[in-house]
Point group: C2
Chain length 352, copies 2
């Protein structure tokens, strides 16, 4: 993929570590007054005045979290930022700064890193965050990306996982499962390509799913939306590993149970079509498929009228006392215990 | 090494990602009131009140930054924290929190990660920092450690690289070159071990050098020392890549030149002995050897009397105008241009 796209290949060891950072970040501008000193010293210096500081970090490893066989480097850079910003959004905070460290083997030319950083730059522009530091180093194997995201919020704005109470409503933003099915489509096309490299895939029926996988977005808009609606969530988490897994984190932290209604799960029509094509159950995909980066939160039942008309927000269930457990109510009105499984569990199910 | 030391081998995939983090960090306590929420939510929440926040990040890769053939995992965990705290100290700030992300392949049993985290715990205790977050993931190859360190300081305390002025004195803490020579000793012993695994190395003559390599310390004490002496550095940087490299960062940022005096370079007697044994020039090692994690800073000439009697602080030169360049004055009073080279340059010199 690299060879075709980019005939120029400058070995990265022509530049030193510091020249490389300078080169890759020269088009990165500073947007926040809280960023006093960015890249170029032993550490960045930030000023949050009276606000609270929110910090999250993620490590992305080639061959574990991404496959450069179908993830273009620009998309990968963008997604690496999104994944981290999503965690800041899940605290109901505003993302403000990120640090980006990468390790790469010599098989990556400078032009490949420029692609990666272009994606990082685009995401930092879209999400209005400053890239304030990082580290570049060589790797003995593939590409490694480590990002730390920093955000700010007033104390009373911050939402933890542990605040859900009995009778609260369970709300999810956007729709579920599309990123996972996008990955299935890409995996299939990769296999087709390996058999016949001249095959030109027709992906028109899968554009939404593929975009959800390759270029997901963090729900930075939800904080502002909820403020406008005058609703403060009682607990919140982002959906990175899959709805069921996140529901278990939230209910465990809050010491509550919950009922989720299958018919309320928000599914995109394209997801439903492609699940049929792949002979997969769309509910299973929506529950266990990961990487949606939507937000899952609880609100007081009395806030229901404020959110019910909003197309971004879907009430999918309600909180119950802890001893009642965590269940899904099927379309046939059967109550089944929900299992805490990430998306890696789906393929295991198929093997069973 | 792992097999001999630790007969118990629990596969890490027996635990999930979250259970693994919980297990590894269960003995980590919170020391700072600025840490409002630590591990266990989407992000940590911190409160620095009116203080400025200082952030630095580093990525350590097996086979590039460390060799598990001679670096015990506990020492490695300790050193990974130290390397990052050193950057915070170099801003004249107090380290307060760190995040720790690791990627490991299945060849590491749980007991190995416990060793690594014990080193991280010891360092976080010694340096009084809270471990507030992180990520654990699988790796397709070796061990990867990514640490982000956070510190706090009052605005007027922070020292950047760019404040050095003509006639300022150039000061270095501790002594130089020992960590690099410790690495040479360990490399030699590893080769001996590979030839004859029954050979018991006698390392008594190298204890200081080996400790400097395997268990370096960050100069967290210097901020307090300088406060007591009522001296504020005009510019500061930590010595991770070697004195010459750091001098070039500092002088370039400050737009100045400098003269360094060979006879003033602080060398431990053990370093001098072992350089003779290895037939290496101790000045070259002191200038280009990395990983000392000492601090290099400049002070106003008028502050000289305040620091001259302190055994931790060594004046090694002085700042000159930028157009005069960066030189070393040898013991024979010859003025030679200093080259900006890290410690990797030493072995290249030998090949020439």
């Amino acid at each position: 993929m690299l060879e075709n796209k980019d005939p120029q290949r400058t070995p990265i060891d022509q530049l030193g570590e510091f020249a490389l950072i300078d080169h890759l970040t020269k088009h990165f501008d500073i947007k926040h007054k809280s960023t006093i000193k960015s890249i170029g010293d032993d550490a960045a210096v930030l000023d949050f005045e009276s606000k609270k500081v929110v910090v999250s970090t993620d490590l992305l490893i080639e061959g574990v979290h991404f496959d450069l066989g179908y993830a273009p480097l620009k998309h990968l850079g963008y997604k690496a930022v999104v994944v981290n910003i999503s965690d800041i959004c899940a605290m109901n905070a505003n993302p403000t700064q990120i640090t980006v460290s990468i390790a790469v083997s010599n098989r990556f030319p400078l032009e490949a890193l420029e692609e990666l950083y272009e994606g990082i730059r685009l995401a930092s522009k879209f999400y209005n965050v400053d890239v304030i530091g990082g580290d570049t180093t060589s790797s003995t194997s593939g590409l490694i990306i480590s990002i730390t995201a920093i955000g700010e919020a007033n104390e009373e704005e911050i939402v933890y996982r542990d605040g859900a109470k009995d009778t609260d409503l369970l709300v999810v933003t956007g729709d579920l499962g599309a990123a996972y099915m996008g990955l299935q489509v890409l995996e299939r096309e990769k296999q087709v390509f390996l058999v016949n490299p001249n095959n030109q895939p027709d992906l028109d029926d899968y554009t939404y799913l593929i975009e959800r996988q390759l270029k997901p977005e963090a729900r930075k808009d939800i904080k502002e939306l909820l403020e406008k609606l005058e609703v403060k969530p009682t607990a919140m988490i982002d959906i990175s590993d899959g709805l069921s897994s996140e529901i278990f984190h939230l209910t465990k932290s809050s010491k509550v149970g919950c009922n989720v209604y299958e018919e309320k799960l928000p599914l995109d029509p394209q997801l439903i079509n492609v699940c049929e094509e792949f002979n997969l159950d769309s509910t299973t995909i929506a529950i266990n498929g990961g990487e949606d980066y939507e937000l899952l939160f609880t609100i007081k039942m009395s806030d229901y009228d404020k959110i019910k008309a909003n197309p971004h927000l879907n009430v999918i269930g309600h909180i119950v006392p802890e001893n009642e457990g965590v269940h899904i109510i099927t379309r046939e009105n059967t109550k089944i215990p929900l299992k805490a499984r990430g998306w890696s569990a789906i393929s295991k199910d198929e093997d069973e």
